[in-house]
């Protein structure tokens, strides 16, 4: 629930209902009015009976319509990575917390786009129904505070009851990904940063003091004897080639917000390209550093890019061996 919304407004929107006569309902309503007029005019008891029965049906329908949509909650969850501009697989959870089943409901997200309405034919009392939804998000970033429109024509299809419900859950929309080409640079034509790291099973890398929890088999006993305190041997990990991307978020580094968005999209696209080729990558933003070569790292990097905003301060110097958005070009004509 958004914090800038007053409690009264929240309550109003949570329980706000709107009713609308359907086309058939309008005809029924006209029929009821007509029958009522004829009954009063003629004084026919059977017509009064029909008239009162139809009115009762209308009132009964109203009660059932209200009961049908009470205690219904909607939550949204991503079933896959949500990438700006691409249809994303989402899951809508319709939870019926009440003791009355939910019939013939339609759920439509109110996100400003033309989202298709999802049909929920039946949700039994105190149960949840999951519905898949394909949604194309037009902006990157964290999406919260969505509202959904829940409507139903239960029981007779003559009155459509409609309520607005707050959608629980949040989405992180990754920046737009397009085909890109990294401009060649360097002696070997690559922006690769080779570095040695401890922690592998390669050659000797260094010695460091023994700490509780270290593998006792790695204690160098000769050094222990010489220095009087335990040291463990660290061996070198395999050489790893890593493409380091750098994105400056200082406002002064960009001509305008659109240029920043294009820059983010370029970096996100290049990161994805590196992941797809099986290479290692690293992403450096002010205050954020993510590296790796697996999908989880890619997701962390994309989340960082999704949530990146322009900030104040001076542009930072570009790290050595890093790739910036200037060195990434969109491939024309590619999707």
């Amino acid at each position: 629930m958004t914090s800038d919304m007053s409690l009264a407004e929240v309550r109003f929107r949570r329980y706000h209902r709107a009713e609308r006569l359907t086309r058939s309902g309008f005809l029924f309503f006209l029929a009821i009015v007509g029958i009522g007029a004829v009954a009063i005019n003629s004084g026919n008891n059977l017509l009064y009976l029909v008239f009162s029965a139809l009115l009762s049906a209308l009132i009964f329908s109203g009660f059932l319509s209200v009961a049908n949509l009470r205690h219904v909650d909607v939550a949204l969850e991503a079933a896959d990575d949500v990438i700006m501009g691409r249809p994303a697989r989402l899951v809508i959870r319709v939870h019926n917390a009440g003791s009355f089943p939910l019939f013939f409901a339609t759920v439509r997200m109110r996100d400003g786009s033309r989202t298709p309405a999802l049909s929920v034919p039946f949700v039994s009392a105190r149960s949840t129904r999951e519905l898949p939804l394909l949604l194309t998000m037009r902006r990157r970033g964290r999406v919260t505070g969505l509202w959904a429109e829940l409507s139903s024509t239960f029981p007779f299809g003559i009155v459509q009851m409609l309520i607005e419900v707050h959608v629980d859950g949040e989405l992180i929309v990754y920046p737009e990904i397009r085909s890109v080409a990294l401009q060649q640079q360097g002696e070997h034509g690559e922006h690769r940063l080779e570095k040695a790291r401890a922690g592998g099973d390669g050659d000797f890398f260094s010695l460091c003091r023994y700490h509780e929890g270290d593998d006792a088999r790695r204690i160098d006993w000769k050094v222990f004897a010489r220095r009087g305190e335990p040291y463990v041997t660290e061996r070198e990990a395999r050489y790893q080639q890593e493409t380091l991307f750098f994105l400056d978020t200082a406002r002064a580094a960009w001509s305008d917000a659109d240029a920043f968005e294009v820059g983010i999209s370029k970096v996100a696209s290049a990161l994805t390209s590196v992941l797809e080729t099986g290479g290692a990558f690293a992403l450096a933003l002010p205050g954020v550093f993510v590296d790796g070569r697996e999908r989880a790292s890619w997701q962390r990097a994309m989340e960082a890019l999704a949530c990146a905003d322009l900030g104040e301060g001076r542009p930072r110097p570009t790290p050595v061996h890093s790739v910036t958005h200037d060195q990434i070009a969109f491939v024309a004509g590619a999707a």
């Binding site: 059977l46 017509l47 009976l49 029909v50 990575d81 898949p132």
Partner: protein, 179 residues
């Protein structure tokens, strides 16, 4: 659904018979219109082709004009025209609106009957009609074909509707590929 009867069609058929019953209270020979519903039952919802549908749609109007030419009284004119309209609508029934239209015509037939009878049978038929119309209006809101009476129960109807959309777990497992 060619091999079995749709629950909604059966309810619409019973509603048609009830309408015939209402007018049958006033003029018993109107019960013969029940035969039209009986004949319409096997072909209900199966009339394809634009011209075939137009012919069926034009039948009530043609029948009404024939009755006008024959100089029938107003009650007979309206009653028979409405029963003919109901039978033809029953033949052409496809979606929710068609069933709602059927119920609306049935209500008009009831009103017409109320103008010409003071029988206890009217009350019994009214109860039957309200019961059938209520069920029909609820069942009519299922889009697409519903299971037939031959092999499926209402419980299976719910499960059929629940399993129509793809399972999100399946979507989830499918989406664990590359970005």
């Amino acid at each position: 659904m060619r091999g079995s009867l749709d629950i909604r069609r059966v309810l619409a058929f019973i509603l048609g018979l009830t309408a015939c019953g209402f007018l049958g209270i006033v003029e018993p020979w109107y019960l013969l219109y029940g035969a039209a519903f009986l004949l319409a039952l096997p072909i209900s919802g199966r009339v394809r082709g634009r011209w075939a549908r137009r012919v069926v749609e034009a039948l009530p109007l043609a029948w009404f004009l024939v009755l006008v030419v024959l100089g029938k009284p107003l009650f007979a004119l309206l009653g028979q025209a409405m029963l003919a309209a109901m039978a033809c609508r029953f033949v052409l029934t496809e979606g929710t609106h068609d069933y709602q239209g059927l119920v609306l015509i049935a209500v008009f037939v009831t009103v017409l009957s109320a103008a010409g009878s003071i029988s206890v049978a009217f009350g019994l038929l009214l109860l039957a009609e309200f019961l059938v119309a209520t069920l029909l209006l609820i069942m009519a809101q299922f889009e697409g074909p519903s299971p037939g009476l031959g092999g499926a129960s209402t419980g299976q109807l719910w499960s059929l509707r629940s399993s129509r959309s793809c399972s999100p777990s399946a979507c989830l497992s499918r989406s664990r590929g590359g970005p």
